[in-house]
Subunit: 246 residues, 2 copies
């Protein structure tokens, strides 16, 4: 038996997210189908976590067990012609049988792109959130500092999520403007459902003055989803990298 | 009567190019339909030039005559909800009745993106040409110098094109690598059919050693399409800007 680790890039535009489900086209399902064609085996692909519909990944990680003798590093080539063009395997390797892409992940980095021009742009439409308002980056930067560290992030979780604990650690948030693009980078040990998108939606509310930056600590403590800003839309979000112990 | 100038961004992926034609969905047709909805008039939209299917534009320019009293600067808003999301008007203004977006263009700038990684990438697939070979940028740079200036570019024209003259002037070609992306920028007074894509295809052949840089002058002089490299595929090409006298 071999345990194969895949690093995956995808454009989420045409998918109902990562996780397999009835009556919807998902990324997990497409990759499992491709692996089954390559290995002639049914496999269960374990992702590092779900991504929602229209969310992209530059470095999603997943693993599967197989008795196929295809060498680990060959999967990136073997799957190339078995996958649709909007899903690509950028790395593949055989790893220890104990490796589990979800349980062993120690850190994740997400990127969120806001396009801050007046009018929509054709080229960016599936890869950014178009915000035509004035955004104060400085205010967002100061607000983001309150989120760094270990907190109960219940405020920043999709309603009706079912989790054991809402305690998470955010290591870093950076916000950079490059002309009319604003890029958020958020690193944490793990994320609740919609957490990155609610954080971005809340920081943007600070950026255009609908929430005061000094209210963020209270918004965290209140543990009420309604206290935060809206969930920023999925197409601006990229799962950039999943980190593991070496 | 008013003459309205539009500056247009589009993703060409889902279109058979700019120019209206039977049994194909084109960008010109989509914009004419949107203008007709806004003005309640049939209009003829004059583009600065055609772009092929799957080619993108960051700053295509077009103009049309109308008796509508919609102020020129309002079209960018008026057309916003009448156009598909992959076509956006980034600027609109009323111009002199004599302005003609094709005849008056004095310079055009195109960008061509090559993705030079080993394996295909999902996110770049519609916006770049995937070349997995080693490419020598220096060789391409030296080869590009022979193309600068006023030449007969018959070699670099799609076969069977019907034009009065194949003399064109190239003002500048820049080639820059940023990690595994290579960006070509080409400026000229006007371009023959497929000229930018054949230039890029030829420079890439120099870059991986299939054509010697010192053979470029003879390839130009021979006026034989077969002497040049292949036509680089459309999805890497962007019409970036069309220039007019102020």
């Amino acid at each position: 038996m071999k345990n194969i680790k895949l690093t995956i890039e995808y454009e989420g535009t045409n998918y109902s997210g990562w996780q397999k489900q009835e009556n919807a086209i998902t990324i997990q399902e497409k990759i499992e189908e491709a692996i089954e064609k390559a290995t002639k085996e049914k496999v269960k692909l374990i992702g590092s976590g779900r991504t929602d519909g229209k969310v992209h990944a530059l470095g999603q990680v997943a693993n599967f067990l197989t008795s196929s003798n295809i060498p680990g590093e060959k999967y990136k080539y073997a799957l190339k012609f078995l996958l649709p063009e909007d899903i690509t395997i950028i790395e593949s390797e055989e790893v220890d049988l104990k490796f589990h892409s979800r349980f062993d992940a120690i850190k994740k980095r997400y990127k969120y792109i806001v396009y801050n021009g007046e009018l929509p742009r054709a080229i960016y439409r599936n890869f950014s959130y178009h915000v035509p308002y004035d955004i104060d980056i400085d205010e967002m930067f100061h607000a983001s500092k309150y989120l760094i560290g270990t907190h109960d992030f219940a405020t920043f979780m999709a309603a009706n999520s079912d989790v054991n604990s809402t305690i998470r650690t955010i290591y870093n948030i950076s916000i950079e403007r490059n002309k009319d693009l604003i890029e958020f980078n958020i690193e944490g040990n793990s994320f609740l459902r919609n957490m990155v998108r609610i954080i971005v939606g809340t920081l943007l509310y600070v950026g255009y003055g609908k929430i005061k930056k000094q209210d963020i600590p209270k918004i965290i403590l209140d543990r009420r989803r309604e206290g935060a800003g809206p969930t920023a839309p999925p197409q601006g979000l990229f799962l950039e990298k999943v980190f593991y112990n070496p």
